[in-house]
Each structure stands twice: as C-alpha cells, then as structure tokens.
Amino acid sequence: MADLALKVDGIAKIAGRRHILRDVSFIAGSGELIAVLGRNGAGKTTLLSVLAGRLNPDRGLVSLEIGGRPLKGADFRRAVAILPHDLLIYPDLTARENLEFFMTLTGKKPDADFIFATLDTIGLAKDANRVVRLFSRGMQQRVAIGRLLVLQSNVWILDEPTTGLDEAGRRWLLDLLKAQTAAGKLILMSSHHQGEVSAVASRILLLDSGRVRLDGPAGPQGATAAFAIMDEGAA
C-alpha cells in the first residue's frame, strides 16, 4: 500500500455558540491505529465526521495524500471509509446483497469469491442470504464492518466499532484492525474501553472540550495515562 498522509490543520467546528472542535491539528500516516479518546461530548464523533467528509469544518483543513498525490472529491471519498453509529447498511437487503451493492459503488464488478471471503471473514457466511433487518445488533455491526472491507479504502474511520459485539466478536474485530494496520491502512477509532486501546492502538489522541489534550504513543502505559486524565476531568 502506498504511503499516505492525513493532515488535519487547525480545524474548528461551531454549533450555535458552542465550540465543538477548537484548533485540532495532527498528521497521521500509513500503518497507524489512532485511538480518539475523550469523555462524552468531547468532540470525538464530530472530529471523525469531519475527517470522513460527513461534516464540513468551520475553520481549518483536512487533506489526504497518497504516494505524494493530494486526493480530492471522489478520490478522497474512495480512499476514506467511515463506520459511524448509524451503520450505513440497508436493512431490507441481505448481508450478501449489501456487500455486493457497496462493492459496486466503488465502480468494481462484485467478485463472488471476494464477497464470499468477506462474509466468511465477518463470520456471516451461513447467514449471507438473510435480510439484515432480522439480524441482531452485533450481526449488523459485522455487516457494517464487511462494508468497510469491500470498499477497500486506505483510511478507516471507526466510531466505537465494538458496539453490539460480544466478547468473541470484540476480540475478532481487534485482530482484524491489527491485521489491517499491519497491511498499511490508517485507522482512526473512537473508544471508551481502555483494554481495546492498549491492545491495538499505536497512538492516542485525547480530546477535551474540543481541544487536543494529549497526542502521544499508546500501549498499556499510554492508555493508562490517557484514561487517568479522563477520570481526573470527570472527578
């Protein structure tokens, strides 16, 4: 995978008189898994939405370069995929139809083998032809993760991706994220679970009232320090 650089330069987002994001800046590259942390209302979801192009910042700039080439418009959207709380999958289509549909949106012809392999990866090969509306929340979450896999984007933006998954599902997802970053993907993920962060994140971005309070390496020590700061704020 070609080297990529996500540059976030002084972005701000204001809703009414409330500053949701204030002067957020950082640079991220291939193979990083950045845990975006913060208490409820710190601006995590807004930041992720701005990075994915779902929201426009009121100030500042988000730019993405792959192999030194800046991406804009459809190229940017092709390179960045988001998994928000609302899962972006069609409840009246089957798991297989959802994956085929989203693969076609990339402009590629759906490859039956690839779709089956993806269904197998997300653990839904047996339920491939069941309508998603009949799935549990955890199974729907797996389809949404399958959507990310078939989009084959370079950057994944995940808003609390383990929501709805059971313990085995959570472990499976964390392994998948590790494999994807090892393959060169850049992943930004919000989470409220210290265990998840220390297990997979390579870097922590801690938000506090819309500002970057901490930007540093993760690992067990980094995660402990970041969660201690959050607890301190809560107290």
Binding site: L88, L93, T104
Partner: protein, 222 residues
C-alpha cells in the same frame, strides 16, 4: 457511472419488490380515488369525455406524491444516504437512479389505474399514441420534480404536507398539458393541438432534467 447507476436503481427496485411499501400504498390510494371519482361523476356518463382526462391526471398526480414521499425514507434508515454520499458515486448518478426508480413505480401504479378509469368511464382511446406519449412525458416530469423535492424535504417535519405544497405549483403546467392531450386522445369535443402540448411536455422534461440534476448535486451534500 453506468454500473453505479444500475446498482442504486437495482437496489431500490429489489427493496421495493421485497417490501412493496411504495407500490402498495400508491396503488391502494389511486384505486380509492378512482372509486370516489366514479361515484361522484358516473351519474352522467355522457360527460365522461369531458371530465375523464382530468380524473386521470389528478389521480396520477396525487398517487405519485404518495410514492415521492417515501422515495428517500429507506435512505434515512441507518443513515444509508451517507453511505451513498460518502462513496465515490457522484450526486448526479444518485439523482438519476432515484428519479428512474420513481418513474418506474409511478408507471406501475398508472397502468392498472388508468385501465380502470378507462373501463369505468367507458373512455374511447381514439388517439392512443398521443395519450401514451403524454403519460410517459408527464411521468418523467413528475419523477424529476418529485425526486428533487423529496430529497430536499427528507429531514423536514411535516414532509408529507410540504411536498405537495412545493411540487404542485411547478407541476400544474404538466397536468394541464396532460389533460389537453388526453382530451384529444379520448375524442373530447376540444379544439386543441395535441402535438403542441406534447412538445411543451418534452421541453418541460428537458429543462427540468438539467435543472433538477444540477440542483440535486448542489443541495444534497449541503
């Protein structure tokens, strides 16, 4: 673009044929209108040619609105519209696919409804080609305008009330042209040039195809 257009259109048709939400509500509503009109006007069958064309177009307009109201509802659930907008598909392709789906749903509603009106009111189709042309061109106009405003009002409260308030003033010329052509087609005693009205409908479709496609692209991401 072609593959993405077909994927979005195919998805809408598949979901509709699986759930039948739009088609069933449109068909039931149009049948209800036909029955009401039949009771209201059948007392004087000699005048059927005079009010038949109006009944056809009012039924088509009202029933199409029911479908337009539901067109983007499926994209709201699970935030699916964002799945489309954040993909590499351009907004114009999304608009064309959605308008085509609406065109097909409206046409499927029109076929049995109009057949029923023609049978109930004993309307002779002396110029069927002109009638079919007006129906196709009129349905294109309803689909283009309906799709644009259905998307625009997707998150509005009282969308069901607002949609007809916004679209009907724009669609009045289409209904008038449709009624005029249909009057000629059923042999009503009118002094109208059907081809002139058909050319008007064609012009309307061409102008609104460009305008709605352009506006959708600007509006939907905002």
């Amino acid at each position: 673009m072609g593959r993405q257009y077909l994927a979005i259109l195919g998805k809408d048709l598949l979901v509709e044929f699986r759930t039948r939400e739009i088609l069933l509500t449109m068909a039931l509503f149009s049948m209800l209108l036909v029955i009401i009109f039949a009771f209201a006007f059948l007392s004087d069958p000699t005048k059927a040619k005079d009010y038949g064309p109006g009944i056809i177009w009012v039924t088509v307009l009202f029933s199409a609105t029911i479908g337009q109201n539901r067109l983007f509802d499926r994209e709201r659930e699970n935030g699916c519209l964002w799945g489309l907008l954040l993909s590499s598909v351009d907004a114009g392709t999304i608009f064309l696919a959605k308008a085509t789906a609406q065109f097909i749903f409206t046409l499927l509603m029109e076929l049995p409804t109009i057949l029923l009106i023609i049978l109930f009111f004993d309307l002779p189709l002396v110029q069927p080609m002109e009638f079919i042309a007006s129906l196709l061109l009129g349905t294109v106009a309803l689909s283009l305008v309906g799709t644009l405003f259905s998307a625009m009002l997707m998150n509005a409260r009282m969308k069901e009330v607002l949609l007809p308030l916004v679209t009907y003033p724009l669609l009045v010329p289409v209904v008038i042209a449709g009624v005029k052509v249909t009057s000629v087609a059923v042999g009503a005693p009118v002094n109208e040039d059907a081809w002139m009205w058909l050319k008007f409908l064609l012009g309307f479709d061409m102008i609104f195809a460009v305008a709605t496609w352009f506006l959708f692209g600007r509006m939907i991401r905002a």
